[in-house]
Every structure is written in C-alpha cells, then in structure tokens.
C-alpha cells in the first residue's frame, strides 16, 4: 500500500518534471490585444505570423477585441483581474488614462532593459509627441497612425471648371459654388465627428483646445475651444450648409461621408488618410480623385496636423520573460521592412523617418494607388509641434468628443445657436475634466 503510493508519487513527479522541461524548450508565449477587425484585423494577424515565423524563442498570440474602446475596457477589466495581456493597442483618446494608470512599462525602459537600442528621435515628432510625456519621453509605441485629409473628386472639379486647389476654406467655398452651378448637388459632405472639425482644425490653425498646453502641463486644464476661431469655423460651416453648399451626411440620414464621396454623391470630404485604400478601391475606374492637406483659413499660417490612431502599450505585472518577447516583437514591428509592409497593406502612415524614407526610395508614393499618402506625412510634419499642436492630453476625452458631437448635431440639424451650443459643450466638458482630476487626485503629469 505504502509502496504503491510512493510509486505513484514518483511517477507524478516524473511526469511533472518532463512537462516542465518540455515547457522550457517551447517558445515563451505572450498575448497582444488589438482593436481592429475585418481586413485590418487580418493584417495584424499577418504581422503576428511574420514575427512568429521569424524566430523560435517567442510566440505572440494576437487576440482581436474588435474595436478600440472594447480593447481599452477589456484591458482594464483584465488588468483588474490580473490577467492582462503583455501588449495592448490603445487608441489616441485613451492615452491619458493609461499614462495615469501606473499599469504599464514605459517604452524606453522596456527596450533599454532588454538590450535594444532604439533611436527614439527616429519617430516623427508630430506622432511621437502625442504619446510622449511633456518632457518628450515616449511611454508607448506609435503603431497605426493617420491624420485627416481633404478628399476631392478631380473629375468633378474639371467638369465644373475649377482650376485651383482647395487649399484654403475660401477656395473650398468657391469650388463648392462652382460645383453647385455645374449641377453637383452636394459639393462637400460633412458629419459631426469632432476629430477633423475641432481637433485637426485647431491644430492646423494653432488654436488651443484647452489650457495648460491642451492638458500636457497638468490635469487642471480647461477647455477653451468656445473662445477660439473654431467657433467661426463652425459658423462658416453653418453658413455653407444654409446655402446648401456643404451637406450633412451621417449614418442616420442614410449615408456617411465616405460612401457619399465614393458613390460620387458628394465631391469633397474630410476624412482619415486610412480611408485612402477604401476610396481608391470603391470609386469606379476612370474617376480622378486626389487628397490634399486640410484647408486653412485664408491669411493664416499652416501648422502641423494631429496624429490619430493608436499606440501599443506594454502592461505591467507580467512575468519577466514575457517582456523579453514583447520587446522583441515591438522591435520587429519597428524595422523599416515591417513598417513599409504595414503601411502598404493598410493605408496607415509609417511612424518612423527610416520607414518613410525606405518607402520613398522604393518609389512607393510615385504611383497609384498609393500616390497622395505622402501628403499625410507632410501634413503631420508641416511645422515643429507647438503647445497647441503637440497633441491633446485630456481625461475622458471620448466623452468630451461626445459633447462636441451633440453640440454640432444641435447646430446643424436643429438650427441651434452656434456660440451657445459650443459654450455648453465646453462647460459640460469642463465638468468632465474636473471629475477626472478628482479621480486622479494627487497625481502629477510628467
């Protein structure tokens, strides 16, 4: 009896030790959660396969959480349950939440500890600054980056006899009038997404969105977009809408701006450079179209636009060997070959100067369908970043965006007073900021 027990114990110990030795030979596995689905999600999976095929020590398991906000929520839930992935893709608006969470390993520290020498200045400053501290230390890895552009239908422009570029809003208005006169019912399509109308516009015009350098200098920032030329910009849009030159296109009305543009219902729109691929694929062959940097107000000076998209955060509290794998993976993604591949298959812009240069040298941007995408880089790097164009570091920014969207909806759909609505959005946004400040009481931004 006693002997059999001993035997069983010895057997069990043997099994365990065999299992353990097998485990040590197998690659170290770690998880990467991302917020993309469909075609883009497949491309992320391709990137993971490429990494796993490139070496034998580590195996990244990439799990789609479908959307950006779901990724942030699930990462938070997982972190609270101590089941967080090693790497998570977090969208621009969630940057400050992560920064204050103390739940991450700073990008610089991770790479230094694992023996990778990264030239941090290689990142475009317009992109890196969005994810860096006020001092310029990168906390996460810029990954999929985009910015807003003006798309316009060159064929329609030619038909309407427009011989100038839509580089200022005055030119856009003039073009819209000519298009209208030539029988185009919807010269410019727009919706209530504050990303282009508020954020990009404010950066390009060097207007503040909030005090404290848009929140970079402290959590006590206050929204001020109700006192800048943004208000005039909205009034301009309202006037154009009243003259039926700019037309609202939303999902609720039946068609959003991108399908409105690609179905040639509308001839101009502001949208992300990430839509460049979709637009090229959807517009019928023979229709000439181009992208341009977003227009500026006449007589003002252009500044760099803001980066949108997401960055990769390495989460704290994982076993040490996973960080080695995570560092290897992030290093792999940062190689010029990978960044060229990623930009080619997705439409996102390269985030590093070497990546961009490699693509330029290959003639990537010289031919359709990729021609024009280099303008996104030009827009992002137009000037060195200023206090107003570095980025937006505001808490609960998704909710503030919702407030602005509601104000724009009231203005453009229900004829509400422009100044009053934007004031309300700013006031309500400030309440949100104060609550955020209280939630993180005693914490300092560095």
């Amino acid at each position: 009896m006693k002997n059999t027990r001993l035997l069983a114990a010895a057997l069990a110990a043997g099994v365990i030790s065999v299992a353990a030795s097998q485990a040590s030979a197998a690659p170290v596995k770690f998880e990467f959660w991302y917020g993309m689905s469909g075609d883009l999600g497949e491309r992320v999976q391709d990137a993971c396969r490429k990494f796993n095929g490139s070496q034998k020590d580590y195996e990244v398991q990439c799990v789609s959480q479908n959307t950006y906000d779901a990724t942030l929520q699930n990462t938070i839930a997982a972190y609270r349950a101590k089941k967080q992935p090693a790497i998570a893709q977090i969208y621009d608006a969630g940057t400050l939440d992560l920064m204050l969470s103390k739940a991450f390993v700073p990008a610089k520290k991770l790479m230094a500890e694992n023996g990778y020498k990264i030239d941090w200045n290689n990142y475009f400053s317009g992109i890196a600054n969005y994810y860096a501290t006020a001092k310029g230390e990168l906390e996460s890895f810029p990954f999929n980056s985009s910015t807003a552009m003006l798309y316009y239908n060159v064929s329609a422009f030619e038909k309407a006899g427009i011989d100038f570029k839509p580089d200022t809003w005055e030119h856009v208005e003039e073009a819209a009038r000519k298009l209208k006169a030539a029988g185009f019912d919807c010269p410019l399509a727009f919706n209530f997404d504050p990303w282009s109308m508020l954020e990009q516009y404010s950066a390009i015009e060097n207007q503040p969105i909030a005090t404290e350098d848009n929140g970079y200098k402290g959590l006590d920032a206050k929204l001020v977009f109700n006192k800048t030329t943004f208000v005039d910009h909205v009034k301009f849009f309202k006037k154009m809408q009243d003259e039926k030159l700019f037309v609202v296109k939303t999902k609720q009305l039946g068609m959003d701006v991108v399908p409105a543009f690609t179905s040639q219902t509308c001839q101009m729109m502001q949208s992300s450079i990430a839509d460049h691929g979709t637009v090229g694929k959807t517009l019928p062959a023979g229709v000439k179209w181009e992208v341009a940097m977003l227009p500026i107000d006449k007589g003002t000076e252009r500044h760099n636009s803001l980066v949108g998209g997401a960055s990769l955060w390495v989460l704290a509290g994982r076993p040490q060997e996973e960080y080695k794998g995570a560092a290897a993976f992030l290093n792999f993604l940062g190689t010029p070959e990978m960044s060229e591949w990623w930009s080619t298959v997705t439409g996102y812009i390269p985030v590093t100067k070497t990546g961009f240069d490699a693509m330029k040298a290959n003639g990537f941007y010289d031919k359709a369908p990729y021609k024009g995408r280099e303008l996104a880089i030009a827009s992002l790097t137009y000037t060195p970043t200023s206090a107003n164009t570095r980025g937006i570091r505001l808490g609960s920014f998704t909710q503030i965006r919702n407030e602005v969207t509601n104000a724009l909806e009231a203005i453009f759909m229900q004829n509400a007073d422009v100044q009053k609505q934007i004031d309300t959005a700013a006031d309500r946004g400030n309440d949100i900021l104060r609550r955020f400040e209280k939630t993180y009481a005693g914490q300092k931004l560095d």
Binding site: I76, S101, A103, Q252, G254, Q399, N402, A410, R435
Partner: protein, 296 residues
C-alpha cells in the same frame, strides 16, 4: 406521523445548492456590492486608491439636465414600447386563435421577429427608414422633412420604439396565444351561439380571462423596455442617442459613461438610481394593477 425525506448530512443539500448559490453570488451579489461601493467613491479605471466622496456622484447625476431628459426618454420608451407590443401581440394572437385557414403559417411568421437580435434589427431599420435613402425618401422629396429622425427627436424616438415593438410583439404573441388556447372552448362557443361576434367575444370573454398573462407581460415588457439589452442595442445601432440627446435612454447613458468615459463611479450611481426606479415601477404595478387581476 408525516413521512418526510430528510437529508441526514448537512453538507449534501449545500453541495447541491452550491453551484446555484455560487452563480448568484458571482453574477449578482458581488457586482451589486461593487456598484454600491463605486457609487460612493471615485474609482480610478485601473484600480488603486479610490477616494470616498459620499453622495457627490449622485448629486452630479441629479444636477445634470440631460440625466432627467434620459429618464423621460426611458419612460416614454418603456410605456409606449410595452403598451403597443402587448396590444399588437394581443390582436395577432386573437386573430390566429380563430384558427382560420393559414393560421399555422401566420403563427410562425409572427414569432419570427423575436428571433432577430436587437442590434441587427436596429441596423436594418436604420437603412429601411433612413430619411434620404429609405422607404420614405420619396415622400421626403415631396414634403421635405416629413420623416427625419436625424433631425427631429420625436421622429427618432418613434423610430426606436417601432423597432422595439416590431421585435417584442412576437414575444407577447407567444404568451397571449398560449393564454388564449387555455380559454375553455365551451365559453366561446356558447357566446357564439348567443350571437356575439369575434370582437364582442374577445372583449367580454377572452381578454378578461387573459388578465394574468397580460399583467405578467406588462411587468416584463416594462422592465425590458427600461433596462433590457435590446433597448440598448436598438438605440445604440440606430440613433446612438441622437439627435442631440433625443433618444438617449438611461441604459445608453450608463454604458457610455462607464465604458467610453471610464467614469465607473458616475455610471454606478446612475445604475443604482435605475435599479431604484425599476423597483418603484414594479411595486406600483403589483400594488395597484395586480389587484384587478383574477388568477382563477
């Protein structure tokens, strides 16, 4: 002496009940306790020290005019949704119960919408009833803004309520048809012999006998309209609360506050208010309406 089977050991019944108790504890009591805790603190999303703030979260909720707007919207949604879902289900059930030719097919067809997920129905209706490209677009071309849920809150509210009714009428139909089939045929035949038509029979015999079913449906439909996952799914997919808060139901507000704003504390406070409101409604329903229901 009574013959009773008694468990000798104390742990056996507990072992049998344990899985259920564990589930209830995990998925009901634990979250409920967390929600109460969060409602009185400012909970940082990633955890960590949360400051106790007393009733401040509730004050914030109550002082927000858009919160009261969402309460009103939710009430309209739940009342209209429940009323018409039951009314239409009742009419359809009465019609099918007459067992005219084709009843079997109609019974199947009427139940079908219930099998479709709320968000999917919302997406479909958003396209079908979109003002510029949907079924009513030709009418809009003649009378501008005849139907424009992207512009008028009332239209948007009608839109989401119609989707709710479209889906849940199938559900009430199942219950009401089952209820009608338990009404003794002799009563209806006797009434028919006395010369009363189908409508008279429905009003005087069938509906009064259906009272317990109707009451059950009223309570469940009101709750469903108020907090159901379909309510959120339909509104989020169709109007996303717009235009300008016009269809912002309470559940949508809570989800946005918690998961977009990462304001777990504010969302918890709103959840508690919502739980309280549902308790009040259910109490009112049982206290005042159930009195008029005869079960036998």
């Amino acid at each position: 002496m009574d013959k009773r089977s008694v468990f000798k050991s104390w742990w056996l019944p507990i072992a049998f009940a344990a899985p259920q108790l564990l589930l209830i504890f995990l998925f009901f009591y634990w979250p409920a306790v967390s929600v109460v805790k969060w409602a009185f603190t400012l909970e940082p999303p990633f955890g960590g020290a949360a400051e106790f703030v007393g009733w401040a979260n509730f004050q914030d909720v109550f002082s927000d005019p858009f919160y009261w707007n969402s309460v009103v919207v939710s009430l309209i949604f739940a009342f209209c949704g429940a009323f018409f879902a039951i009314l239409i289900g009742l009419v359809l059930a009465l019609a099918v119960d007459r067992e005219l030719p084709g009843s079997g097919m109609f019974r199947f067809v009427y139940i079908l919408p219930f099998a479709i997920a709320g968000p999917a129905a919302g997406m479909a209706f958003r396209f079908i009833l979109s003002p510029e490209r949907g079924l009513l677009a030709p009418l809009n071309a003649i009378y501008p803004d005849f139907w424009n849920p992207a512009k008028y809150s009332a239209h948007a509210l009608i839109l989401v309520i119609v989707i709710f009714i479209w889906k849940w009428a199938g559900y009430t139909f199942i219950f009401l048809l089952a209820g009608l089939q338990s009404v003794p045929r002799a009563l209806i035949e006797a009434a028919a012999l006395d010369g009363s038509g189908p409508i008279r029979r429905a009003v005087d015999i069938q509906v009064p006998l259906l009272a317990p079913t109707l009451f059950f449906l009223l309570v469940t439909m009101m709750t469903e309209g108020f907090v159901g996952s379909d309510t959120f799914g339909i509104v989020e997919r169709t109007t996303n609360g717009g235009p300008n808060h016009g269809t912002e139901v309470m559940v949508l507000r809570i989800v946005n506050e918690a998961f977009q704003g990462l304001n777990y504390s504010g969302a918890s406070a709103q959840s508690i208010v919502l739980i309280g409101l549902i308790m009040i409604f259910t109490f009112i329903q049982f206290r005042f309406i159930e009195k008029r229901v005869h079960y036998k």
